[in-house]
């Protein structure tokens, strides 16, 4: 499928850097995009894919670095400026105005005008031409919202394309499409590629990557892990690049797999939810850490949230310490001794404006009811205990959480979960976006908690982290649990092998 060696890149992105408070989203990433080539951009959540293309398409400003268009340095002040240079984005969620007609959506800000008045006849011709380019026939006077998501996606692409388009950027265009719709979209992409348009394609479906792409780039933690032609990178290599980072020595925590696991604490039988995760069986035992391995979109987070009750299951049974739990909700789960540390600690885990002490006490307070206030003296004692036990770097518990580093924030999340003295602790991506030292601390902590008899479930996109901490590993692929590994069976290669097995797309 490779179109030979193109002569010169259309776009060169040079050492792009972008920082958000507390996170370095892009750390000097360089990328080239060639005309007539489909370039797949891969990586886990927070790897920097979306930030990269937002900078490319003028939706975000970079902090440092350069963008060269056909060899000339450019600086897009807005999406409109980028589009004027022939770079057309189609963002992750379909970005159209649902209440407006297809016609108006296709011609918004583009309709031909005469004396300041829109020529609707000209606009109609333009809209029809845009749809014809993709071989679509629609009633253009109907609101876009009345069509299926797949059609809306195609309308968004039709809108993005015109005669001057040199580059089409697609962020997860296939996330909401079924197989036949994906095939139709790919036919269109192949046609566009043949016309010399550079296509950037973000996805997490490996099958689709191999079906359509010419070149692959993998990003991780804001850095480029590798770039190569599709023929040069095997599926195994690709998965390794995405999740198989070697742990440094500090992080590789010595670990003894002696526990066969104590009594079952939480048992899931056939728990699942339609279109979210296929039914699965899983048992969490006291003093045992279970790892959840899988690629982005495989259902790691969903499994964790189903167990916690943050996503409501529509099948299966869940028993906790011998009692059946029918209606799960986060509040019930907390009351039963299940604690959850979510993936995105900024939006779901911590209240940044509150102090460390207030954040830690939050879940205890929730557990014992809002009317029975935790005494201030007790609050201080608990906060100080936690700060000491987890090694949170702070003078005292009265520091605002938003002023802490990522690693220390994560420790506060853990402290908060632990303050409610749970029996089961579910951690989703406990080490995302934190530095190496803190990383090692957290892993050690996970082992310590385990030894104290807690049942742990750790979802992670870092394979070696799972290998280092887990007594048992549940492997997920395509929103289903495909198997369990125990003891000596837990190695990088076995897990990658299982994930790569045969990718359902």
């Amino acid at each position: 499928m490779t179109t030979g060696t193109p002569t010169a890149p259309l776009i060169e992105m040079r050492e792009i850097r972008k920082a958000y408070p507390g996170v370095l989203a892009l750390d000097d990433v360089s990328l080239d995009f060639y005309p007539g080539e489909v370039h797949a951009l891969l990586g886990e959540n927070g790897a920097g894919k979306s930030t990269m293309i937002k900078i490319l398409t003028g939706a975000l400003r970079r902090d440092a670095g350069a963008v060269l268009l056909a060899g000339k340095p450019t600086d897009f002040a807005s999406t409109a400026a980028a589009q004027a240079m022939g770079i057309s984005p189609v963002y992750q969620e379909v970005n159209l105005i649902p209440a407006m007609s297809v016609l108006k959506n296709l011609t918004l800000e583009k309709a031909p005008t005469r004396w300041g008045m829109v020529s609707w006849r000209g606009a109609r011709a333009m809209a029809e031409a845009k749809l014809a380019r993709l071989g679509l026939t629609l009633d253009i006077d109907k609101p876009v919202g009345s069509y299926s998501l797949a059609i809306q996606q195609l309308v968004a692409i039709a809108r993005a394309l015109d005669d001057t388009t040199r580059m089409l950027v697609l962020d997860e265009p296939t996330a909401s499409l079924d197989a036949s719709e994906v095939a139709a979209l790919f036919d269109i992409l192949r046609d566009l590629r043949a016309r010399g348009i550079a296509i950037v394609f973000i996805t997490h479906f490996l099958n689709q990557v191999y079906e359509i792409s010419d070149r692959i780039t993998v990003l991780r933690n804001g850095q480029r892990v590798g770039t190569g032609l599709v023929g040069e990178i095997s599926r195994q290599d690709l998965i390794t690049m995405m999740i198989g980072r070697e742990l440094s020595e500090v992080e590789a925590v010595a670990r003894v797999r002696d526990t066969a696991g104590g009594a079952p604490v939480m048992t899931a039988g056939g728990v699942g939810r339609k279109r979210t995760l296929a039914p699965f069986d899983l048992t969490l035992r006291a003093g045992e850490a279970v790892g959840l391995a899988g690629l982005l979109g495989s259902g790691r987070t969903e499994l964790a949230k189903l167990l916690f009750g943050a996503i409501r299951r529509d099948s299966g049974t869940l028993t906790l310490g011998g009692t059946d739990i029918r209606a799960t909700s986060p509040r019930h789960s907390l009351a039963h001794g299940v604690a959850f540390c979510p993936e995105d600690r900024k939006t779901e885990g911590l209240v940044g404006e509150l102090t460390i002490r207030e954040n830690i006490v939050l879940s205890m307070q929730a557990k014992q009811g809002w009317l029975r206030r935790v005494r201030y003296r007790d609050q201080l004692r608990i906060a100080d205990d936690m700060i000491r036990a987890l090694g949170i770097a702070t003078p005292d518990g009265e520091k605002q959480v938003s002023q802490l580093s990522g690693g220390n924030q994560q420790k506060v999340v853990l402290a908060r979960a632990l303050a409610s003295s749970p029996k089961v602790l579910i951690l989703d991506e406990p080490t995302r976006g934190i530095d190496v030292g803190a990383h090692a601390d957290i892993l050690t902590l996970i082992r310590k908690l385990c030894d104290r008899g807690l049942a742990l479930l750790v979802a992670s996109s870092e394979l070696d982290e799972i290998v280092a901490t887990s007594d048992r590993v549940a492997v997920l692929r395509d929103r289903a649990m495909i198997g369990e590994l125990v003891g000596a069976g837990i190695t990088r290669d076995t897990i990658i092998g299982m994930i790569a097995g045969d990718d359902g797309g």
Binding site: S78, N95, I97, P98, A99, K104, L108, V118, D141, G145
Partner: protein, 320 residues
């Protein structure tokens, strides 16, 4: 047929029904004379509502309308005393209205503050300015004011279209053209429909927001001019709470307060429905005028509930 016309059609049906009910209750009600009077008496509300329609279509709100009407009125009266021709002062104040609206729009976008608060500040500021200009009612004595009030076009039957109604109908045509024949008009609908998508689709949010509130300010100022000429005086309390009547007219006209769905033409009928209710109650003669407010309130409730139903049933905002 496009389901987005449903709220507009409902408005027109209510207007025609109310008018017919009036015809059944009172002799001489179903005449061009009553219609002409409703148009003339409510022309300033409708003009203000036209500008407010754009603001509300974009998902915003403008509370400074009534104060703008008052400020323009007293300023015209004071300039009239100073010897200005009303047309000259009208032009100056309309330009002021545009600039003031543009400033509000800029603050809303640049500082990312809710339009409610920014225009509430505008409301206080302009009302205060009214009292700085004058504390008393000041008459407009220029010859032109009488000429303006006297100008009219006869309608079939013995009704007339007064000059204020003509100005209103002219403004309506311009507003309809802006809404449906310019890129700006489409951008207003787009921002109201989904602001973030509109931005990603290349709509210049800042420029459009400034233009929306500038247009709102322009129409408010024009409403103030018509009000001053119609009443031939300026009074610092004039136009109090008129911003709310304008919003009511827009909502009765079928525009969704959440933005993105509605028609400028609807605000004409919305304003006329408000006028029709007061006319109906005044025709009765024995009813307390409090009933005007009460029935307007009931009707507004009914409309909002109906909108809710239409939006839900026909998925007007298209969010599946």
């Amino acid at each position: 047929m496009n389901r987005h016309y449903l709220p507009l059609i409902a408005t027109i049906v209510v207007f025609v029904t109310l008018f017919a009910v009036g015809g059944g209750m009172y002799k001489n009600f179903l005449t061009t004379r009553v219609l002409g009077n409703i148009l003339a008496d409510n022309s300033f509300i409708i003009i203000a509502a036209l500008g407010a329609t754009f603001v509300i279509l974009s998902g915003g709100i403008d509370l400074s309308v009534g104060s703008m009407i008052g400020f323009v009125g007293v300023s015209m009266a004071v300039l009239d005393r100073a010897g200005w021709h009303p047309m000259a002062s009208a032009l100056l104040l309309i330009v002021f209205g545009m600039a003031f609206g543009a400033l509000q729009g800029w603050i809303i976008d640049f500082c990312e503050i809710q339009p409610f608060i920014v225009t509430l500040a505008g409301l206080f500021l302009l009302r205060g300015a009214c009292f700085m200009v004058t504390l008393d009612a000041v008459p407009l004595r220029h010859e032109f004011v009488r000429e303006f009030a006297a100008a009219k076009i006869p309608l079939p039957g013995n009704g007339v279209l007064r000059s204020s109604a003509l100005v209103m109908l002219g403004s309506l045509m311009i507003a309809v053209a802006i809404a449906h024949l310019t890129r700006f008009g489409t951008a207003v609908y787009a921002i109201g429909g989904d602001r973030e998508s509109a931005r990603l689709m290349g709509v210049n949010i800042r420029r459009t927001t400034i233009q929306i509130y500038a247009l709102g300010g322009t129409y408010s100022a024009l409403a103030g001019v018509v009000y001053a000429l119609y009443t031939s005086s300026g009074y610092p309390l004039a136009g109090s709470t008129l911003e709310l009547s304008a919003i009511a007219a827009v909502v009765l006209g079928g525009t969704l307060l959440t933005g993105g769905v509605g028609f400028v033409l609807g605000s004409l009928f919305g304003g006329m429905i408000l006028g029709l209710i007061s006319t109906l109650i005044l025709f009765n003669g024995s009813l307390n005028s409090a009933w005007i407010m009460i029935s307007s309130g009931v009707l507004l409730f009914a409309f909002i509930v109906m909108h809710r139903f239409l939006v839900g049933t026909f998925n007007l905002r298209g969010t599946a």
